[in-house]
Every structure is written in C-alpha cells, then in structure tokens.
Amino acid sequence: MKELKSWKDYPLGGAVYDPGSTLDIDVSGWRNERPQIDQEKCIRCRICWVFCPDAAIIEEEKTYTTKTGKTFKLTYSIDYAHCKGCGICANECPVKAIKMIPEVE
C-alpha cells in the first residue's frame, strides 16, 4: 500500500520542484462531450490549437494525404487526458471539421 506523506516530507514554503506536473492529472472526467477531428475535412489552419485553453490539441509534423489527394505536413489530434470538452475548438473551426460526440449515449 502506498504510504501517505506527512507534512515533513514536503519542501518548505510550499515550493513545487516539478514544473508542469499537472500533466499527471487526468481531467477527462470533466467532459460531457468529446471532440473528434475529421482529418479529411481539416484544413490545418491551426485555429483550434491557438484557442484551446487546456493545450489539449496536439500539433504533430506527420504527413497526411486525404482521399482527394491533398497532402498536409501537419496533423492535429486531441489529448483526451487533458481535454475538458468545452467545445471551443468545434465552435471556432472554420470548416466544422471537429464534432462534439456525447460521452454517454
């Protein structure tokens, strides 16, 4: 069993020595709706990435070719552990390539 830490185990002054440690926290339970990117429709305009409050849109340098033969150098995907499902990405998407799908049917 994991032992509970006592106050003596924590650094003085409430200092935290582990930058960016909230990445360990899973906030997916906050969501009612889950965004889903349609890679065929997506025009790689970066708008969802820009506006996401939770830095949950991942921009990767991965080539993707659509069925109509268009090749993009970037691919956007969603970090579902940190997405809270606010829907800003879906609302701001200029081509409506992001759909919000209910978590519970």
Binding site: V16, T22, D54
Partner: protein
C-alpha cells in the same frame, strides 16, 4: 533591447512550446488559460511570473502540482506589483554583483485578475508603474471576482448582474461604470499600455511582445470572457470575445511612447444587443436599458475616433 523572437504577424509565427501545460483545474472553456498560454509562448522560458491571487493562481497550482514550466511565485492578492518590483530589483542587484551575466535577459511578468489590479492590487500596481521597474503587468479582466463567487469589482460594467449587484425590484445589476485602466496606466507616464482580446491572438501576442521589449513598465489589459460568471455555455468564450470587439464594447488600443492607435479597426460595428444576448448576466435587460448601453458605447466610440484622429471604429450596422 534585443529580442530574439521574430515579430508575430500570422498564427504560424506563434511559438510551439507550451509553458502552461494542461491538467490544471480552470473551468472548461476558461479563456484565461488561452491568454496565459499565449503570454508564456511569447515570453519564453527565461521568465519569472508573479501571480496575484485569483482564478489562474488557485487553479493552476493546487499543491503539490503546478501547471507552470517557468519560475512562478504567488504571495498575496494585493502585492503582485510590489513582488514583481522586488524580483526585478533583485535581478539587477545580482547582475551588479556578477552572479548573473549582465547580458542575460530575464522577463518579469506580473499576472493579475481585475480584482488583483483594479481594486485590491491597485496601489502596488501604481507603485510599480511610477517607480519604473522593467515589469510587464498583464490583467486578465473577467469583470468581477469570479474565483470567490462573482462579486462585483471596479471592472464590472454597467448593468451587469453579479451576486453583490443583484437584479431585484430596486436595483438592476451594476449601476456604476467600469474603471478605465488603460488611461490610468498612461497617466503614470509609462511607455507602453495596451488592451487586447484573446479572439485576436496575433494582435494580443504582438502586444505582449512589444510590452516585454520595453525598458520600463508596461501594461496589457486583456478581456477574458468567463463562462461561470458571465453565464454562457463554455463553447462561446471566443465568440463572445470577438463580439466584444465587433460591437466596440471592447476596443483593442495601444499606447506606445506617445502614440495612440487602435490596432483592430472595425469598419461597421454591430449593435451591442448581439453581445449582450449571449450572456446570462445581462438577461434582465429591457430594450430601453440596451439602448442606454448602446448610447454609452456610441459616446465612447466618438471619443476614441477623435483621439485617433480618424474614423477607426465605424458607424453602427444598419
């Protein structure tokens, strides 16, 4: 002052690195996180952030976690300005002593909400600007004390509902006007002051960049639609921010060493109704009250056009 980052002109110039990571406990759809994310992208990793008490402070650093990847400190609600001044002075002292190389550039940024800057933190902010420390003060303005339960602040606009300016038989929301922080900052004789909007990220980021490149204090005042306190669905955060500029409720202005300019001109502005009707905090308004708010905005637009010397904010859309 040299500044290594290239000027941000399009969305693609925004740096990719994240210095405020996900997993924090700000509300879903909170635009404050968008603002701070962009601020740190622009500032880079050589940055010390001083954060006044407020939404961003309590929810990004629930002990023993932190969402920040830059040195960050919090002391109290009222003294973000004073602490930031101290940090800046300490850096200067260490440079004189030779502990830090003189050419090393360290950005000191103070972040506060409207409570931590308009009301409680005002004297520390005023002192910081008057003493001329090289600190950028960023205000994310959600127009009330959202963190403690939507109490009114000096930034609450006319007619807005809050829990301390309720809608009853005798009062109909806030009956006083919003404080003009932009002009107060300019009156301190600082080099750079600006108002920004997260719905215009390129404009906002270039303002952060300009503010950081100044040798003295600078202030960037950013509007921040609050899903909880303004009573709207989380997905409309950016839509409402955009409408604020399109209706001229919020004007993106800039004051750069004596030059006043409006950075996002609006050719034809929308009726303020478009902005108000999306928000629950204005749901009690009657048609006469909406017209009264529109009149106030018309007057403000006229003033700004006069100040800019040309028509930057156009007439009302027919």
């Amino acid at each position: 002052m040299t500044y290594e980052l290239e000027k941000i002109k399009t969305l693609w110039d925004i740096p990719k690195e994240e210095h405020l990571v996900g997993g924090h406990s700000l509300c879903a759809g909170c635009t404050a996180a968008t603002i701070v994310r962009h601020l740190l992208k622009v500032a880079g990793k050589n940055t010390i952030v001083v954060n006044a008490t407020g939404c961003v402070e309590v929810s990004t650093t629930s002990f023993p976690y932190t969402a920040w990847r830059v040195p960050w400190l919090h002391v109290a609600f009222e003294n973000a300005g004073a602490v930031a001044s101290g940090v800046e002075s300490a850096i200067n002292a260490l440079k004189i002593k030779g502990e830090i190389p003189v050419e090393k550039e360290i950005n000191v940024i103070a972040i506060a909400g409207d409570g931590g800057s308009f009301d409680i933190g005002f004297q520390a902010l005023s002192g910081l600007m008057e003493r001329g420390h090289k600190v950028m003060f960023v205000i994310y303005d959600n127009e009330a004390y959202m963190n403690t339960g939507i109490q009114r602040s000096g930034a609450t606009p006319f007619a807005a509902w809050t829990t301390t300016t309720p809608v009853t038989r005798r009062i109909r929301g806030e009956w006083r006007n919003k404080k003009d922080m932009f002009d107060i900052a300019i009156a301190h004789g600082i080099d750079y002051a600006a108002t920004a909007n997260p719905a215009y990220p390129v404009d906002m980021d270039s303002k952060f960049q300009k503010g950081l490149s100044k040798d003295g204090p600078s202030l960037v005042h950013v509007i921040m639609p609050c899903t909880t306190g303004w009573r709207f669905e989380p997905k409309y955060g950016i839509t409402i921010a955009k409408l604020a500029t399109e209706t001229a409720v919020w004007v993106n202005m800039e004051y750069d060493v004596g030059n006043f300019s409006v950075t996002v001109p609006v050719k034809k502005r929308k009726h303020v109704r478009e902005y108000l009707k999306l928000q629950g905090r204005y749901s009690h308004l009657s048609e006469t009250e909406i017209e009264l708010i529109q009149e106030q905005i018309d007057r403000k637009v006229e003033e700004i056009n006069k100040r800019a010397g040309k028509e930057v904010i156009g007439p009302l859309e027919a």
